[in-house]
Symmetry: C2
Subunit: 83 residues, 2 copies
DNA sequence: CGTCAATATGCGCGTTCGCGAATATCTATT
DNA sequence: AATAGATATTCGCGAACGCGCATATTGACG
């Protein structure tokens, strides 16, 4: 399932969902991306000042990618994803 | 056209493409997102320490959204986008 | 070639990152 | 209830942010 994100919190929640799906701990992911467990924690919490490098390293570590696209109209189903 | 991004540079390039598509200057976008033209410049250049907040503010200003998804296999066509 | 808009780069400042290291808190699971 | 594992939070540090402001540098066009 893809995740739509329009806020740092939603980005963090998306990362967390995929990480858990892969049965990895924050420490595991941290090692893959050469970051501390504490840093992964802040990223997943949606800290807005997190650096872009941290986000992309995390995505790489989880074998994910980012798509930038025009905002979609919200269907009832898509609204679910935002919460 | 959607943009796939796996590096800060690709994120920046995507933003720039959509901004130009909308005929906005860096200054225009900066005003929409309450940031300096210089900050937009760094974001588009792919500065890896750019803050997540800046990225999301820019996306909002351009009426874009982010999708997080598993990496796709690269088709010949998709490879073009990465350069 | 000249001009003007757009973009990139510089300075000093206050703030906050991510770091190592440690610790607190929460969450199973038994 | 007790323990172990996972996650959240804190300290001090060096580095780099984004800011206002100002100034190169680049690009497009007549």
């Amino acid at each position: 399932m893809d995740t739509i994100a329009r806020t740092p919190q939603q980005v963090g929640a998306g990362i967390r969902r995929f990480r858990r799906q892969k049965k990895l701990t924050q420490r595991d992911l941290g090692e893959k991306m050469h970051a501390r467990q504490a840093t992964v924690s802040k990223l997943e919490a949606g800290e807005p000042a997190t650096q872009l490098r941290i986000l992309l390293d995390a995505l790489a570590g989880l074998d994910l990618e980012l798509v930038i696209r025009p905002r979609t109209k919200l269907t009832a189903e898509a609204i679910e994803d935002l919460f």
